[in-house]
Amino acid sequence: MTNTTFTRRAALALGAAASALALAGPAAAQEVSFEGETIEWLIPFSAGGGSDTWARFLAPFLQEHLPGNPSVQVVNEPGGGSTKGANLFDARARPDGLTILGTSGSTQFPYLLGDPRVRYEYADWNVVMATPTGGVVYTTPQTGVESADQIADLMGQDLIYASQGATSLDLVPLLGFRLMGLDVRHVFGFQGRGDGRLAFERGEVNIDYQTSSGYLQNVQPLVDEGSAVPLFSWGALDDDGNIVRDPTFPDLPSYVEAYETINGEAPSGDEFEAYKAFFVAGFPAQKMVFLPEGTDQAIIDAYKQAFIDIQDDPEFQETKGATIGDYQLATGDAAQNLYEQGTRVRPEVRQSVVDLLTSEYDVSLD
């Protein structure tokens, strides 16, 4: 599109631009230092949202652990459900390590679904870190279900779920419930999971999920007073790519276990593959950090190392609770692994999801 300069603070200082050029060359590859630089961390969402808070929490640690201790600024470029900011990054970010992008499931989903607004290509970028998240599905005792092992009693009941939209992150519950065989009606137009939880508390819906921190803060009290029953967690991904129990909720079955309780066998086949692709993009690989195409390997390595060091920083481990929860950052090969699983989907599988959305939910993606 355009090839204009992207990092404006770098342009403010003349020396900054010069050293940026030097960094991109192989000669300086051995010693990457961002001393005196400003790194712009592009977040394609507005200030205050989940992705913004995640980046703002991590920024000071990145500042501390990147060589040369550059200043790290979070820059919000919201719009188009995060496609605008990602397009901008893809088109304009220079491979000098001074512009990085933080994406979320909301950036991955339109890409996976082939949204016409997407002009970015995940395969071109270099992942340096992924942050997993999780979520817990719960219901009301009015369904007659009093504990997670009675989930099969939900079969055949009229369930209602408050959804943010069929192509939003709520595509995961949409595909997941369907695969399980639960009869769930999705009512759209909600403005976030908090909004959906409110509908649950008002008695408008009878099945809901919250991300881990939202669940612990706001649903656990409901569970304690007996007005909500946890069913299962979406789960986490182990090193072999299997869906296992979420470490934050070791006592709750994972999605796969809950599926088995209902259907008597483990999920498999094309529909499960479709579900899993979006599950990975929405949860274990929900938030990722990228460097642009063509970035020097030394710069990529410096970032990877910085995130490994952040992970080992005791202050990080101590304070991460409110923003990241009990999850560990995926760095190095683990990040690469999640990135590959969370941004690739076979064309046939993609088409089957698009067809489903079109035929049942009037979604048109072109």
Binding site: G48, D52, V187, F188, G194, A199, Q217
Partner: protein, 668 residues
């Protein structure tokens, strides 16, 4: 509870915490003064410094900022006629005419007194209700929220001005404009015409600035005077406070209304000022001066918009659900300091909640005090000859506009909405009605769909809905009672005696109005045709609204065709109003062309360079400023915009030039 309150107060009243609060208040006041910049921009400025701060200081700073934005945004609304933020759009209607009549000081004093009172009342209600709010908030389901949206729309009756047909037409335009973008029920994108920009809908700030600020700037540019017609500020400080005191019951009602609306999650704060304004028009006597400089039109919205922040904290703290854009950022700030909102805010974290409430109250006092001190110098802006002020105002609203999505398209959208606003003003189409429709479009559609999904059409029989239905009926009845009669001519019309009124000759004098009505009809037709492509749930709302709009426009056209110029439906400031027979006044198009020049130049060479050139050209050729002064004013404006953009981490919209050449910030 009392213990927690006192503990929170003594914690807050340490020097360190107070200093942070004052920092928040000062930044909040500075940001609030700029039209279009509000809590979201202000809080984003502070967020980078939040991590690692002690919680009380951080909360005091954040709340200090949020609390005073609706106080200082009054400056722009009253002095310039530019809505300072979405919360004080209604203040413009009467505040700005007061400034033009030379009563700026009186309007500001009444506004700040109302803001202070509203803010304190909001904090007081928050204190009392925080422990019992949870079940009350849960009473408002999608069905009640839909009825509340309809209640808001019922205000159109009183805000319609002299012609109900135009009022309904304008409201319909707002509802159609508000349905651009993703449909709530299906996610289908409506009326986007293959434009990326329209996928997210038209931003509220663009609609507010386009409808209110652009027409005022265009209007002021036609006369080479200062904003204040007699060049003075008026010595009405005491009068303003007295005005507030005389209307304390109105202020109390509006502040309570503001708190309640703010506390209901999902309704959003941007209608609070209009609801309060509409309420004042419905409940007060002798309302014929509303819209022409009645101080009650300032007191009502200003009492409500500060109170709203107190109410808005309830769902934010209790449920972690932000009631507005700035509350969303505040929520992010809370998470950064390690506090997660939820039920614990009234149990283990009760002291935090009271710290927030005390901060809110204190910040309102400090903020209103500082505003009163500042207002004398700031009010002097209204005594500067307007041509010298104009480039600053145009730059400021452009800057505010591209906060929306940070692209050139924002400026283009501002220009388009602005031109529509200019003609609405000329032909007496009520702009507030459009704005109400716009703000409530998404809410009424979403909640209606959800209510029907959850409860079926029987939702209307829910007790809450029946109560609200009664409110709506009362509101409509009061609105109709206080309306001027459509067909009655009035004394303003005396100057049209020499114009032909009846027959074809009369119709020819009304031709511009008829053309504008046809233009509105064309918009409705386009919306109707677009809706045909969508599924039932995606189409039904815009389709019904477009048909209703077409009906209103048809009625209007029939009236324009058959009634004479004396009928209230006929209004055209160029032919039979303030600008008729006024050879002194400049052209209506001059201001529009100047703004168009800035936008076109931005499209070519990027906003920043375009702004600099625009300043030089405007000051030299339009304001006829001496070269040295031109250079100084331009440099001052440029430096100022740079500082602001740097603080906000903002890149300027780029033009064609930047597609070919890589330029350093701020040019690229």
């Amino acid at each position: 509870m009392l213990e927690a309150m006192l503990a929170a107060l003594s914690d807050l009243l340490t020097v360190q915490h107070l200093i942070y609060m004052v920092v928040g208040v000062v930044i909040g006041l500075s940001v609030g003064i700029f039209p279009g910049l509000g809590g979201i921009a202000g809080l984003s400025l502070l967020l980078p410094f939040i991590y690692g701060m002690d919680p009380t200081s951080a909360l005091a700073m954040l709340i200090g900022l949020v609390a005073v934005i609706p106080t200082s945004d009054t400056f722009a609304s009253v002095l310039m006629g530019i809505p300072g933020s979405s919360a004080s759009q209604a203040t413009v209607l009467d505040g700005f005419p007061m400034s033009r009549d030379g009563h700026a000081a009186r309007a500001l004093a009444a506004a700040f007194a109302s803001s202070l009172f509203g803010g304190l009342l909001g904090a007081a209600i928050l204190t009392g209700f925080v422990l019992i709010a949870r079940p009350l908030i849960l009473l408002f389901t999608s069905a009640e929220l839909f009825m509340l949206s309809v209640f808001g729309l019922s205000m159109v009756g009183v805000l319609a001005g002299r012609s109900l047909a135009k009022g309904l037409g304008a409201c319909g335009l707002g509802l159609v404009l508000g349905s651009v973008g993703g449909a709530p029920a299906t996610g289908e994108f409506r009326m986007i015409f293959n434009t990326d920009y329209l996928y997210d809908g038209v931003p509220l700030v663009i609609v507010g600035l386009g409808l209110f600020a652009v027409p005022e700037i265009v209007d002021l540019l036609r006369r080479d005077q200062a904003i204040s017609s007699d060049g003075g500020l008026g010595a009405g400080w005491f009068d303003g406070l007295h005005d507030w005191w005389k209307n304390i019951w109105l202020s109390l009602r509006c502040a309570s209304l503001g708190t309640i609306i703010g506390a209901i999650p999902g309704l959003g704060g941007s209608v609070v000022d209009w609801l309060a304004y509409g309420h004042a028009m419905q409940s007060e006597k002798n309302t014929e001066n509303f819209g022409k400089g009645d101080v009650r039109g300032v007191i009502a919205p200003e009492s409500a918009n500060n109170a709203k922040e107190g109410g808005g904290l309830l769902p934010t703290l209790m449920f972690g659900i932000p009631g507005s854009g700035s509350m969303a950022v505040f929520l992010g700030g809370m998470v950064l300091i390690g506090i997660e909102p939820g039920p614990s805010m009234v149990t283990t974290n009760l002291d935090v909640t009271y710290t927030i409430i005390w901060s809110l109250a204190l910040a309102n006092v400090i903020g209103a005090g500082l505003c009163i001190v500042l207002s004398q110098p700031i009010a002097r802006l209204t005594t500067i000859p307007f041509p010298q002020l104009a480039p600053f105002m145009i730059a400021v609203i452009s800057f505010a506009a591209f906060q929306a999505t940070r692209s050139l398209a924002d400026l283009i959208a501002l220009l388009v909405v602005g031109v529509i606003g200019v003609f609405m003003r000329r032909f007496g189409w009520p702009r507030p009605a459009l704005l109400i429709g716009f703000v409530l479009a998404a809410q009424s559609e979403t909640y209606l769909y959800q209510a029907v999904q959850f409860y079926g059409w029987e939702f209307i029989l829910r007790p809450g809905c029946l109560i609200l239905l009664a409110f709506i009926a009362v509101s409509v009845w009061y609105g109709m009672r206080n309306r001027v009669d459509d067909s009655a001519g009035d004394e303003l019309r005396a100057d049209i005696d020499d114009l032909p009124s009846e027959g074809m000759a009369g119709r020819r004098t009304r031709l511009p109005q008829i053309l504008f009505a046809l233009f509105a009809g064309a918009i409705f037709l386009a919306a109707f045709l677009d809706s045909l492509q969508h599924s039932f749930l995606g189409r039904i709302f815009p389709m019904v609204m477009a048909l209703a709009g077409l009906a209103a426009v048809t009625l209007l056209l029939v009236q324009l065709w058959t009634k004479g110029n004396r009928h209230n439906v006929s209004q055209d400031t160029e032919v039979m109003g303030e600008y008729a027979n006024d050879p002194e006044a400049g052209s209506l198009w001059a201001g529009i062309l100047w703004m168009g020049f800035l936008v076109a130049l931005s499209a070519l060479i990027g906003f920043f360079a375009a702004m600099v050139i625009f300043f030089v050209v405007f000051l030299t050729f339009r304001a006829r400023t001496a070269p040295l002064r031109t250079v100084l004013l331009t440099a001052g404006a440029a430096a100022f915009v740079l500082i602001l953009a740097n603080a906000l981490n903002l890149r300027f919209p780029e033009g064609l030039l930047q597609a070919y050449i890589r330029l350093p910030w701020p040019f690229g």
